[in-house]
Every structure is written in C-alpha cells, then in structure tokens.
Amino acid sequence: MAAMIDKTKPLVELREIRKAFGGVHAVDGVSVNLYPGEVVALLGHNGAGKSTLMKMLAGAYPIDSGDTLIAGEKVHIRTPAEAQAQGIETIYQTLALADNLDSVSNLFLGREKMTRWNTLDDHFMEGAARKVFHRLNKNFTNIRVPVRRLSGGQRQVVAISRALYFNARILIMDEPCAALGPEETAMVGRLVKQLKDDGVGIFLITHDMPDVFGLSDRLAVMKNGRLVGTYRTADVTEDEVLGMIIAGKRPEGKTQAEHA
C-alpha cells in the first residue's frame, strides 16, 4: 500500500494565502506544502496565524485570497463538509465535541450512517464505533454516556477516531497532546507514525518542542501572520527554532526546504 504512494508530488499546496479580520492581517501571504506521509509542524506564538491558516484549509473560515491545491488540483473549500469531501480531517484543540451527546454520536456527527428509510442506523454506528475506539484504547467501553463524563484521554480518542474512521488523507492536528497524560501522548505519537506509514499527510500545530523534534519531518514557523521560514526538522536546532518563533529571525547558513 505504502509503496503505491507517490511521495514526490505534494498533497497540499497553499499559495499566497491571505486572511484579514477587520483591519488585522491574521494570515498574510503564506505558502506551505505538505507531501504524502509527511508531518509538517506549524509553529508560532499565539496569534501568529497558524490556527487561522489551518481553519481555512479545514473550511471553517473562507479564504480572502490565495490558492489551495489538493493533489495538484485547484480546489475551493468553503465549508467543513467540502473539506471533509477532500479527505481533510481536523482534530481541534477544543476537540469540537458536542458534550451532551455520546461518543458514538460524536464520532459520526455530521456524517451519520442512515438506514434504507433515512433514519439513523444506531446499531451500525455503535458497532463501528466500538471497533475504532478499541483500536485506540482497549479500556474505552462506556461509549454510550455523554462525552462530558469522559476523561480528557477518552475525549481525545473520540476526536482522533473521527479522522481515523473516515480515512483522512490530510490530517490537521491542533495541539493534540495539550490535555493528555504521558501514556496518551505516547499513543498519539504512535498513531502519527502509523498514519505516516499509510501515506497520510499531517499538519501538526504545537508549542511543544519534544513533539516537534520527535514527530515532524519539516517545520514552518509563522510570526504576525507571515511565514518566517520552512526547514527540515533535522537541519535546525531547538535554539534556532525558538529564535524564529520569538524574534522572527531565520537561522544563518541553513537552506529552506519546500519539499519533503
């Protein structure tokens, strides 16, 4: 399976993307690529524009100007449903779960499996949900209680399952480990590696340096809505990355990497 994937052609090309809220340029002419089986870490302070950029790719915000190409083809993503149709799945930092519904309902929220009579196929959904949750956490069985009663790790399992079950080819993870204990963080790490092997391209928004160096192939740093630079993770040091994030200073003598 993995051998079939052409890793030389970009999965996502974002070109000169711009977005302004009122007079503030939240994202100002940013270009980033993502290749199959690659993890690109997006770094920057709060308000640097990385979450806004990803929300545009996920269809949550409309793009002011700039082009989005998926597998070489220009697309217009205007709603979350259109992003999902392109195989783009997002795991938000807030997890985007409806707290009053149970895990099964949340897994399928917006994409319910219907019966022939166009009613909700709860039995199918419960069975499918059990399988996908079990894959991520064998102890997760109370799947029929409202997710507000679940632990942080279990809630994360539900959010990740949404991406897993619907076969994402592009995955956006916004601070996936922020609320997790060490064991669950390790689970996310294993999952990222497994998805990479399957040829999924992953944008990883994070503040956590061990995550960046442990998981990402390349990193892109943003500051004040602009792109500071994109580098191979192996080519730069933690100090250089912090220099880019804090001062917007490109490391001297290091070449940028537009490709995987």
Binding site: T79, E112, E126
Partner: protein, 395 residues
C-alpha cells in the same frame, strides 16, 4: 465500566421522569382527597387531558427550540393570530375548514421563517425577535377581524377540540389501546433481537418486560378512565378525546424526530456545542430554519385545536400561553442553557402544570393565589433542575 452503573441507568430509565411521574400521581391523590373525591373522577380527568392538549402540543416543539439554545416567546400570539385567521376565513369568508387551515399553516410558516431568518441568518437573538413578535402578532390577531369574535360552526371541526362530540367512543378507544400496547411489546422484542444480532449486551427479560408493561398499564388505565366518562345526555361514553390523540401523535412524531433523524441529532448537537456543530459541518442555519418551520406547523395544529374547543377564534386566544408552554418544557427537564431535554418530559410537565391549576380551581383557590403558586412552582422546577444536574454531573 458499564457493569458498575446501577440497573436503572443501564436500562436507560430517566430518574427525573420517574420522579416527575411520582409527583404527578401524588398531586392527583392529594387533590382527590382535598376535593372530596372529584379530582380523579373520569369527568375531571377527561377535562384536564383535553385542556392540557393545546399547551402540550406546543411544548413538545418548545423543548427542541430551547435545546437548540433558542426561545420563542411569540407562540401564544402567533397561535392567536393564526387561530383568528382560520376562524375568520371559515366564518366571514366562507372557506371550507381544510382550506382555511392550510391558509393558516401558510401564514404561520411565513411568520416563523421570518423570525427564524432573523435569528439564524442575521444572528439576532431569538429572545429579542420573538419578544417583538409577542407584541406584533397579538396586534395582528386583532387586525384580522377588527377584534370581533369569529365563531366556527362545522361539527367535524369542532370535534377536533374535544367537547361534546370530541371523544372517539368506547370501541375505538379499546381497539386503539390494544394496537398501541401490541406495538410497544413488538418494539421491545425487535429491539432485543437487533441488539443480539449486533452482538451487543441486552438486559434481562424481566427488565425489558417491566419497562414495557408499566407504560402499557398506564395507557390501559387511561383508556378505561376515558371510557367511564359519559355525558348525561349521550348514550355512549366519550372515550379518548381527539385533542389528546392529536397531542399523542405529535409527541410520538417529535420523539421519532429526536431519536431517529439527522435533524433531531443536529438540534441537540447545536445546543450542546454550537462551535463544534459548525466545525464538523452541520448546516446550522438550515437546521435552525427547519426548526422554526416545525414550530409553525405545531402552532397551527394547536391553533386549530384551540378554536375548535372554544367554537370560536378571538383576538385574545393564547394570551400568556408562552409562559405555560415554556414552563411545561422546563418542568419537564429541559435545560434553559440548551443541549438537553425530552419530549416525554414536556408531556409530564404540561400535565403537572394543568393538574395544579385545575386542582386549585376545584378547591376554589382564588386566581391571584393560583398565579403566585404556579409562578413559584416554576422556580422550584428550575432550582430542582440545577441541583439535579449538579448531583449527576451534567453541567
């Protein structure tokens, strides 16, 4: 984890609804004793059942409106407006009752979509939109017939409101009850089979049997009571009043919408977490508009039942009803913060409100005291709701 839950929770029994049912029964017994044996008589229960239907019908959909984090304060006024219009079209314009009702429905849909559009598309809080509507449509109800009462004379139409010929009779009542009880047991069996088919755990047989037998017994008791109320000038007992049947049908359809359709699930998701609902691709605006349209349909049905019961449309029809409707939903366990509520709860809530009101009326409690007490009961219901959620960790 599942095994550690108490049995009633695993079996999906809502403790709150059980408590409310107990409260309703206790209220009935107390009023029965205080009123010297009148309150639980078939005649009084028949009247309470049909009087509650109008508020009950609108309450079922108000549950969904509140679950979706909206409110509609204009239901009483819109019902008055639509009711007078339907009566006017029949009496003054000479239309047949079905055409008049369809015209009423069309107008209700226009009103609701206008208010829904302001709320869903422009983002004006529904509280403000419908507060304006509360005033405007009461005025519109006056304008339709210049404030004149519009009688309705069609006999079939009048039977929709209950009253003299408004019961379905003894035989029909027993047949209907038998059919519904059979369906209840068939559904229980089908559910068990489906769960076994999908290799999911089922409860012990006696648990499922009990959970089906209790509602069935309530139903049979109700049918028996309705079959023992006979108006002295008639040869046959009344049986179940038609407005109650309409209310029951409405409640069943809405429960189906809540549990079995996308629309119902989206309404709850929007109420639980509006941001998440938008992020996962739920068409929030469209669902909100559909919800308001559904409200229009049920307000029209309530208007029809209401003018049929009064044999006339007046411009004061439904005045203050919004409070009873919202109170029934809240007493029935709908959280005003949105995200949780049940249709069956609203049925119990409406019955509790109406029983309290009727019971006090029977005991000759003056109107002022009745209003004071009912207002405070509503507050007690909300306090209970807050404490209950805190105890069971639902807030």
């Amino acid at each position: 984890m599942n095994q550690s839950l108490p049995l009633w929770r695993r079996a999906g029994v809502d403790l709150r609804l059980v408590l409310m049912s107990v409260l309703l029964i206790a209220m009935g017994v107390v009023f029965h004793i205080l009123s010297g044996g009148i309150f639980l008589s078939p005649e009084n229960l028949y009247n309470i059942a049909q009087q509650t239907a109008v508020v009950g019908i609108v309450s079922t959909v108000m549950v969904l409106v509140i679950v979706a984090r909206h409110i509609d304060l204009s239901v009483g006024s819109v019902m008055g407006f639509v009711g007078v219009l339907i009566a006017y079209l029949q009496y003054t314009s000479g239309w047949s009752w079905p055409t008049a009702c369809l015209a009423g429905l069309a107008v209700a849909l226009l009103v609701s979509i206008y208010q829904g559009w302001l709320t869903a598309v422009l983002g004006v809080p529904s509280f403000v939109v419908t507060l304006g509507g509360l005033m405007s449509f009461r005025g519109a109800a006056f304008l339709v017939a210049d404030g004149k009462t519009q009688p309705v004379n069609d006999e079939f139409f009048q039977s929709l409101g209950g009253g003299y010929d408004g019961g379905i009779g003894v035989t029909a009542t027993w047949v209907l009850t038998a059919v519904v009880v059979a369906i209840l047991f068939a559904r229980m069996l089908q559910k068990r089979r489906a769960r076994q088919h999908h290799e999911m755990p089922t409860e012990a047989v006696w648990v499922d049997l009990l959970l089906t037998a209790v509602p069935a017994a309530v139903l049979v008791t109700f049918a028996w009571t309705m079959n023992h109320y006979q108006i002295s000038s008639k040869t046959e007992a009344q049986g179940i009043p038609i407005p109650v049947l309409i209310w029951a049908a409405v409640a069943i359809v809405l429960s189906f919408i809540v549990h079995r359709t996308r629309f119902g699930r989206y309404v709850f998701a929007m109420g639980g977490n509006p941001d998440a609902a938008a992020l996962v691709g739920i068409p929030v605006k469209r669902v909100t508009l559909m919800l308001f349209a559904l409200l229009a349909v049920l307000v029209t049905i309530a208007a029809i039942v209401s003018i049929a019961r009064l044999n006339a449309g007046t411009n004061s029809l439904g005045t203050g009803m919004e409070l009873y409707v919202i109170a029934a939903a809240v007493i029935g366990g709908t959280a005003l913060a949105g995200g949780s509520g049940s249709i069956f709860g609203s049925v119990l809530g409406a019955l509790i409100m109406q029983s309290l009101d009727s019971g006090m009326l029977l005991l000759d409690v003056p109107i002022g005291k009745r209003m004071v007490i009912i207002g405070q009961v509503l507050i007690i219901a909300v306090v209970f709701d807050v404490l209950y959620r805190r105890k069971f960790g639902e807030s």
